[in-house]
């Protein structure tokens, strides 16, 4: 997109969007060079909540880093738990019982739905709609109650352990989850699609706005719903399966339009696919222990290890270097939102400010995960 010729002027001015601004979630600063209402150049500035999580990993044992993983992506904390557990299990050669794997999948997918619901609510709040937030939080509350029952916390979970999970799930959780899925299925068409997806205001705000091409996604390394909204069918759960995902029948929603609407639709379809995975996992749930044999103090062999998981925002990679000690030698995280945000500068050029904010909302940014 470019600025219409008759609206161009010689004068530009700099506008700081953030670090504290109601339209940016978390503390993200975007330095905008503006020509009237049009953006000439957009430059995201990071580092306001950098907390050295990767360095903190080097200072403690492997188990001591588990609480930190939940503080990065607080909306899909269980996927971060899962990624860290996977890479350490790979390094130390720990076997995970099958029941624990199923419980991991169930809780991660529930958390994914909660994350998408919160994104939906916050995105519409950015666009100026308040009521959808209350409907989404009503449903999200049910998920948090379910997860609180088994994990003990509501947001920053520390539930996975090397070799399994902390607690077993009980019948009340299983029936509660089934009831929740039934409830969300009945609410999705009305409270979500009739009220919002088919609403003319939303369509006018996000359709054909914020076009991201597949080529741009590849260049910046964008993953998750951003890439899938641009026609790239890539989902770690399907392409490089981990845990017990190959045993479930689910689809990867792909939309080729590349606009904000496509990303919106990908997430709405992902909620449905996650519900399918949870139902299948609950049906197939094997019995047995939820914790395998794992030594209290881990000392993995020296070497390089890598694990990738699909979070609600895309591919999360943990690269772990061990030197045979009880602490990690080095940990590097490849977080999905960092790559997704990198797109923003290029795509926002020539956009109207209000459209750029709608586009930014559709990227689903979680700043603590970018800054770590």
């Amino acid at each position: 997109m470019s600025i219409p010729l008759h609206l161009r002027s010689d004068e530009v001015f700099v506008l700081n969007l953030g670090p504290q601004h109601p339209a940016t979630h978390g503390v993200l600063r975007v330095k905008l060079t503006m020509d009237g209402e049009y953006i000439v150049k957009a430059e995201p500035v990071l580092g306001y909540i950098h907390r050295m999580h990767e360095k903190m990993a080097e200072g403690g044992t492997f188990a001591q880093f588990m609480p930190n993983t939940a503080r990065m992506d607080y909306l899909h904390a269980l996927a971060f738990n899962h990624g860290w557990a996977l890479v350490v299990e790979k390094a130390a050669g720990i076997e995970v019982p099958e029941r624990a794997e199923y419980i991991r999948v169930i809780t991660v997918e529930l958390n994914r739905i909660a994350s998408h619901l919160l994104w939906w609510a916050a995105f519409l709040l950015d666009l100026g709609g308040f009521t959808p937030l209350l409907y989404a939080f009503d449903d999200r509350e049910k998920i948090l109650d379910l997860l609180e029952r088994i994990t003990g916390s509501r947001l920053t979970y520390c539930y996975m352990r090397f070799g399994g999970v902390l607690n077993d799930i009980d019948d009340e959780f299983i029936t509660g989850t089934r009831e929740f899925i039934k409830r969300l299925r009945s609410r999705l068409p009305r409270q979500y699609h009739d009220l919002v997806t088919h609403n003319i205001i939303l369509i006018k705000r996000i359709k054909d706005i914020g076009f991201v091409s597949a080529e741009q996604c590849r260049r910046y390394g964008a993953t998750g719903p951003v890439a899938r909204g641009s026609g790239i069918s890539y989902d770690v759960r399907k392409n490089e399966p981990y845990s017990v995902y190959p045993e479930f029948d689910f689809e990867v929603p792909v939309f080729s339009e590349g606009d904000s609407m496509a990303r919106y639709m990908v997430r709405m379809h992902e909620i449905e696919q996650s519900m399918r995975i949870i139902e299948q996992a609950l049906d197939k749930l094997p019995s047995g222990p939820v914790m395998g044999k794992a030594p209290k103090l881990l000392k993995p062999d020296a070497g390089y290890y890598f694990s990738a998981v699909e979070t609600a925002r895309g591919l999360l990679g943990h690269r772990l270097v061990c030197d045979g000690d009880k602490n990690p030698y080095k940990l590097k995280l490849r977080s999905p939102t960092f790559s997704n945000l990198s797109l923003f500068g290029e795509v926002a050029e020539g956009m109207l400010l209000a459209d750029a904010l709608a586009f930014m909302g559709s990227l689903d940014l979680v700043i603590p995960e970018i800054d770590r």
Binding site: G152, C158, I200
Partner: protein
Amino acid sequence: MNQYWTDIIHGGKSLLTGLAITAREFFSPVVTEQYPYEVPTMTPLFRGHTELIGNEETGLPNCVVCGACPRACPSNCITLEGKKAENGKGRVLTRYILDFSKCSLCGLCVESCKFNALRFSKDYNLVSFNKDDFVYMDLIKRLEDQNRCKK
């Protein structure tokens, strides 16, 4: 011109759908918890701050001062001291300070305890005007208060 009328019809439909949903929600039951009048029941696994478990008969802490919990803690928020028991067997706890302002409630200390001496409390509404109440949380005093309440 055609687009103009389509937009108006679509807009009218969106408006009516929205109003219909709002009207239906208006008569549905209230989902908000009316907090001071209704208090939430904590799930059995709820993680409040940690507290010491007392012996059922004597009421003294089960802790043997092995030091596993401060070693397991990722944020160094546990300080404990002990002395030799008077009867010469093992050690008894004399001081257990939790810095709750640093605690992230990860539960590694509770898991590391092999002597059934530590658990999560169900206390969720902690309030104070004084920061030190949380920086130096005396868990032995808390246990003594609990014992007094029991009596």
